[in-house]
Symmetry: C2
Subunit: 142 residues, 2 copies
Amino acid sequence: MSSRFAVRGTDREIEIGTQFAPKFDEHGLIACIVADANDGEVLMLAHMNEEALVRTIETGDAWFWSRSRQQLWRKGESSGNTLAIQEMRVDCDQDAILLKVQISGNGVACHTGVRSCFYRKLTVKQTADKSLSLGFVEGPKR
Amino acid sequence: MSSRFAVRGTDREIEIGTQFAPKFDEHGLIACIVADANDGEVLMLAHMNEEALVRTIETGDAWFWSRSRQQLWRKGESSGNTLAIQEMRVDCDQDAILLKVQISGNGVACHTGVRSCFYRKLTVKQTADKSLSLGFVEGPKR
């Protein structure tokens, strides 16, 4: 399959050019940050292959490549929590995508039942022997 | 080097347990989203190896692994735009990190001189032959 996106040029062309030339890694994937279009909260990080990216652009709903299930996946297909793309951005070297979305259904992005996958805040405590003890202050809140 | 983080347990332990057990990929890296602690804007996506993650936790400044330069990198070391960690979060399966930061210096996170690496919004136009024409509405704004 030949790429349906622009050929990647020089660093300068990639950074300030007007062509979308996404860089897929050696597994054919590009990282994709999903944030809520309303309040900007980061909801999840997922990966797209070329087909998922094309379907996302064509349909306006977020499609990903599931690395664990090794299959194309329309987010929310079974849960009803589909992600309608409000805005799509790419970073300087075009190897990461940012989607600003509106979540359908009950507004939950994480498969654990909470809004954002990033539901745990990390805390660091210095223990008596000066080693670091890591843990979480917050568990998932439903 | 033995890991300085918890051993990864069952899916349930990883998702709702109280132990930080980050998953590094086959290159020893974990993806790290950086967002502004004040307004939540997504600034960049970078990668950490175990050493970068340990230094970030120990120092409170963001350290990454540069895949292009293949070296450990304290963000802002040369530019002065270091990232002071206000909050650190991990996602459900603990294979992605979210840093909420305060940028020092002139408040610029991207090496191109703009605040966020995600300075370009993607637009899609349907061309006469029904193929998709992709481009950007916004270039970098300094």
